[in-house]
Symmetry: C2
Subunit: 186 residues, 2 copies
């Protein structure tokens, strides 16, 4: 199973591509159960790619939305994910900021719909709870746990990329969270 | 000059296509000045088409955004507008509603950017002030003035379609508002 996780933003959209499957194979069958993931180290979630889509602050909003749409569409075409996991809107104190973020999220959902990919949406607090264990976790804690869960030498940079990965992990782990936690703690 | 005006909405997106030009010709040259519009009755704004793009309330948000994007893209391809006039977000009391509206607006701006159309954005109050003369005008007043300005026998229905037309009219009139008003009043 391959999941493309997205943390929407008008200036910086973070993303992470995570796969699960026995021996690194990109299993897409029904046999790719949480049990299998938990039993095999090779079947544990693996990070395929992460990064950010940056847009120019001097460009018009429509042009920035175009860049985000093209960026996400390119990622979908290249990785052919089974699912798109998109972080829900963070309600900023400034309503205008939140609404502009809605614009970015709109074109990301559209990219998924146009490609016919299954879309999952997760609230920021749920992502933190799934990855760190606490809905109010800090950005640093998310980065730390993302690195730990994926056995990375260092945390993904910038934090937006880690947030994209965390969103993909939430999708992957939502089926077998308990078992994965057990293995990591052991 | 042809302008496609859009009143964004997740459930119902209103639109109106308005043209100006001497003798109904779709003038796109520099000679299509406000003076010309004001002088010639044939050059006054004409309604080419208006209507709404409806989406299913039972469909997922991504699917509804897809329908809106396809609908606006189809209108742009068919009418080849010189400009896309999009109403700015109405700040509802419910922040969630406003944010979802932002999603719809995002895919509309994207449709314009992908087609390479010039995009103009107008606040709801400015549209009302331009068409009715008062920023706090009612929906009925907007419908009445849209019909008056375009010499229609009845107001466009539903109100969302009239709002789309009003947005297109704001773009058309923003160059020669004063002269147009003079002619209508006379």
């Amino acid at each position: 199973m391959i999941v493309l996780g997205i943390d929407p933003g008008t200036a910086i959209t973070g993303y992470g591509v995570v796969s699960t499957g026995p021996d690194g194979a990109l299993a897409k069958s029904a046999s790719d159960t949480p049990r299998l993931v938990a039993k095999s180290a090779h079947g544990a979630p693996r990070l395929i790619e992460c990064g950010v889509i940056r847009t120019s602050p001097r460009a018009a909003l429509a042009s920035r939305l175009h860049d985000i749409f093209e960026g996400v569409t390119e990622l979908i075409e290249r990785h052919k994910p089974d699912a798109l996991a998109v972080e829900d809107v963070f309600y900023a104190r400034n309503v205008r900021t939140t609404v502009v973020l809605g614009h970015a999220r709109g074109v990301i959902l559209l990219a998924g719909a146009r490609a016919g990919v299954t879309i999952h949406e997760y609230a920021p607090a749920l992502i933190k709870k799934t990855v760190v264990g606490r809905g109010g976790a800090t950005k640093e804690q998310v980065q730390f746990m993302v690195a730990r869960l994926l056995r990375l030498k260092s945390a993904p940079q910038p934090a937006d990329a880690a947030d994209g990965v965390a969103c993909a992990l939430t999708c992957v782990m939502s089926a077998g969270t308990a078992m994965l936690r057990l293995r990591i703690a052991g």
